[in-house]
Amino acid sequence: MDSSNPVHARRPRLGVFKLASCDGCQLTLLDCEDELLAVAQAVDIVHFPEASSSLMPEGPFDVVLVEGSLSTSEQLEQLHRIRKNARALVTIGACATAGGIQALRNFADHAEFARAVYARPDMLPILAKSTPVAEHVSVDFELRGCPIDKRQLIELIAAMLVGRAPVIPNESVCMECKRRGAVCVVVTKNQACLGPVTHAGCGAICPAFARGCYGCFGPRERPNTRALAQHMRAQGLTGREIARSFRLFTAYAPEFREESERHES
């Protein structure tokens, strides 16, 4: 996909889809104000319901961006159709990569929730759990975050256009925090911060504003959540508080899920 030769190169065909989600991640694409025109010229956006009324959900696509988790049986069928029509499938955001905030129901009796809210809960085509896309189909790349980071999205598209691996390192938020020169809130203020176990990408926004990391980007590679939780406990947090800190936007990501379950009781 060499775009340096516009006469011969075919623009890659892009599709944007959503499953169970708030639309915030696909809005990040529309939010790329400065780069949006360039993106629209470099790729052929053939399906993007949020932005256009001319739709081609059947593709075929060179790459699709999929937002949202699998929460209903319809979404599962839709996902398999998307996968079939796409050469590369990229999941975007905490819902698609980890089940999202709606995966909090996975820790409770969702049937009871449905009974409490709906008159006819039996009419809901709801799955037992809210699950990430990778549990059902193969995923070529994940963009983390709640929502995803605009710079990472642009980097992904730019890298795809020239055929390089995107520079989206799987490192701790601390690395970004230190590069930007922020002062560690754990060390100066005893704050609870998930930065050491969380995947970088946000640019360490919260610590830079003197607040511990909420873990929006989910677990990084080999996160030592157990050691962080022990430290939180030593700092005076209760088991319930520790469980809750791991149980936010990416609660159902395996490493965070397991850590929160260790502190539930």
Binding site: S4, G163, R164, G181, T188, N224, R226
Partner: protein, 647 residues
């Protein structure tokens, strides 16, 4: 001669330096810490503040007095100004026909660093050796260092985590400073260490300091020396640490360590960085930048998807042994200056002095490190590729191609060296040189990742970026008149190929050459026609084996060690090995069984070479850098770490 100056005249000092065009960086308060940032006037200094520190703990506190330098060290070090967290190295002009790579320069103002502690000045000297000690000199770093003015300050109070006295780096400022201060009450005692410093001092309203004042300053430094919060026994520390790589304490640390990388980021000497090509969505400009990396991250130790430091234990071991042991073999000093930052800014308060002392006190026998190497200086930037045109592309197997490139003028590689090959906006990869001469050079590459796939897809006439040649070659001249046995696995034949060609051309010098070559299948044999040609040369024998044969294959089946029979492996011979590490491990075990001395065996290694000039730290292999001390190593020099997890 020492001078005295009222502290309020720090404002004049800052104004003078700003007037001279310097950007003045010094201590100031932000986010409840004393950080280093630009100072506009002395009002920005942390007057009357101090820092109270412990493992994983830092608190800003009021002092009873109005000291300007009444703290120890904070979360920042000067490295973020001399070696910025992110920096453009190369500007790249894309375009299909004639890409260009040019060095990015630092055109910013000179920096005046105000308030540099003794340990920090020692740290700067350590980074000077890394970035300017050769073989290549980092141009951007050098420019910043040469323009930089250093106003150092002696410590008169030690912090809870300070151990500069143990590391012999403080508390008294030594070495390369322009001005040096000691703060005594509301006064500063100053002396100049350079012409620039003297010239600055002359412009300040100072007066000569009486001996009694100078003595008081010295006494305050000595008091500080006696009140160090931490100690580290450095006697024989490198050898004791290297002798205790299996200490159970490493697992204990790994259970506590978050592998977040904070220790490496706050360390004033840690220099590891990664290099990436960048590009925007539109065509045209692209770049290559570096950013701080950490040996605690996954990518630092990943090649072709495999991690050679797969767990927290091995990453912590890499950091600790590099800092306190292998650094001495690489650069001639310890990598630790005793500032205590890694202890304070570790969120869980892991204490380097405690861990190192515990591990070094283990039962293992000391393992001495090799002596520090010196490198002949080499001209040029080393980081900027030059364009090289692809003259021919030969397909060797379904996933291996041989690129014939036009060699840059004056390019003369030795057998076994490597180049960095790049395509604009994609990045560069280390690639052994598989042939050279007559104005051309060859690279045989297997398509495994994005960069190699793009390189393998090149056509005649395309232009690649080339850096090199780098690294140590095969010691071919040592093989003159001896049996030479070349043992290769898969694509590992490529780095040996130009050496083989030379032996074929000089049959009198190399009367007995034997190639033992193993591949996955008959279809994966590279240079097959050339191999047949070599065999025609009467002195050369080649034996090939494949893991899996097919109907047409009547040759050997099995791993390469099956070819290593007694008659092929004379004890006096010289052995060159190249292939996957697992293959080399088995081959080495077999050579050992056959009684071949380790000093007769050379092997070519691969690690995560990024800069290729010995400064990014990514290809560290114990005390060595694969890019400048390898890729060819004599086996006995790496035998203690070869095949060990974590190296």
């Amino acid at each position: 001669m020492a001078e005295r100056l009222n502290s309020e005249h720090l404002d004049d000092l800052i104004a003078l330096m700003r007037g001279d065009g310097y950007r003045v960086i010094g201590p100031t308060i932000r986010d409840e810490a004393i950080v280093y940032d630009e100072l506009r006037s002395a009002a920005d200094l942390p007057w009357g503040f101090t820092d109270q520190q412990g493992p994983g703990r830092y608190r800003l506190q009021r002092r009873p007095d109005r000291a300007a330098f009444g703290y120890v060290v904070g979360p920042h070090s000067w490295k973020r100004f001399l070696f910025p967290p992110r920096e453009q190295l190369v500007r790249i002009r894309r375009g299909s026909d004639s890409p260009q790579w040019t060095a990015a320069t630092d055109d910013g103002p000179g920096l005046a660093l105000l308030g540099v502690r003794a340990c920090e000045l020692a740290a700067i000297a350590i980074q000077d050796r890394v970035f300017m000690g050769g073989p290549f000199v980092d141009g951007r770093y050098r420019v910043r260092r040469e323009r930089c003015l250093i106003i150092a300050v002696n410590c008169t109070e030690a912090g809870e985590l300070c151990f500069c006295d143990s590391m012999d780096t403080g508390p008294e400022v030594q070495g390369d400073y322009d001005l040096r201060m000691t703060e005594l009450g509301t006064e500063l005692v100053l002396d100049a260490g350079s012409a620039r410093g003297r010239e600055l001092l002359e412009r300040l309203p100072s007066r000569p300091a009486e001996d009694s004042v100078a003595d008081r300053a010295q006494a305050a430094i000595e008091r500080c020396r006696r009140s160090m919060g931490r100690r580290l026994d450095t006697r024989d520390l490198p050898a004791r640490l290297m002798g205790n790589l299996d200490h159970p304490r490493y697992q204990d640390v790994a259970d506590r360590c978050l592998a977040c990388g904070n220790c490496t980021s706050v360390c004033p000497t840690c220099f590891c960085f990664t290099i990436s090509d960048t590009s925007g969505v539109t065509d045209g400009e692209a770049g290559r930048e570096r950013s701080w990396d950490s040996c605690f991250g996954a990518e630092h130790s990943t090649i072709h998807g495999a991690q050679f430091r797969p767990d927290v234990r091995s990453r912590y071991q890499q950091w600790l042994t590099h800092k306190l042991a292998t650094w001495t073999a690489q650069f001639g000093t310890s990598g630790c200056v005793g500032c205590g930052r890694c202890i304070a800014w570790c969120p869980v308060g892991i204490d380097l002095t405690v861990e190192a002392s515990t591990i070094a006190a283990g039962a293992g026998d000391p393992v001495p490190l090799p002596p520090v190497q010196s490198y002949a200086p080499r001209a040029g930037d080393g980081l900027v590729p030059v364009p090289a045109r692809v003259l021919e592309v030969h397909r060797e197997t379904h996933d291996v191609v041989n690129l014939v490139l036009q060699a840059p003028a004056g390019y003369a590689p030795e057998h076994g060296q490597f180049n960095m090959l790049s395509l604009p906006a994609i990045g560069d990869v280390p690639m052994s040189i598989s042939g050279s001469g007559d104005g051309v050079l060859e690279h045989t590459l297997r398509s495994v990742g994005n960069a190699t796939r793009a390189l393998a897809g090149l056509r005649e006439g395309a232009v690649v970026g080339l850096r090199g040649p780098f690294g140590k070659p095969w010691p071919l001249e040592q093989a003159v008149g001896r049996h030479l046995v070349l043992i290769a696995g898969g694509i590992g034949l490529a780095p040996l190929r130009s050496a083989v060609r030379e032996t074929v051309q000089r049959p009198k010098d190399f009367p007995n050459v034997r190639i033992l070559y193993g591949t996955r299948s008959p279809d994966d044999i590279i240079y097959d026609r050339e191999l047949l040609g070599w065999i025609q040369a009467s002195h050369l024998r080649a034996h090939v084996t494949v893991d899996r044969g097919d109907r047409s294959w009547s040759g050997n089946i099995g791993v390469v060690t099956k070819l290593m029979r007694r008659k092929h492996t004379p004890r006096s011979g010289l052995y060159f090995l190249c292939g996957p590490e697992i293959m080399m491990r088995y081959a080495l075990a077999e050579l050992d069984r056959l009684g071949i001395p380790a000093e007769h065996i050379y092997l070519s290694l691969e690690r995560n070479m990024k800069c290729a000039v010995g400064i990014c730290g990514r290809c560290q292999y114990g005390p060595h850098f694969v890019c400048k001390d390898g890729p060819v190593f004599r086996y006995d020099q790496i035998a203690s770490i070869f095949g060990k997890v974590g190296f």
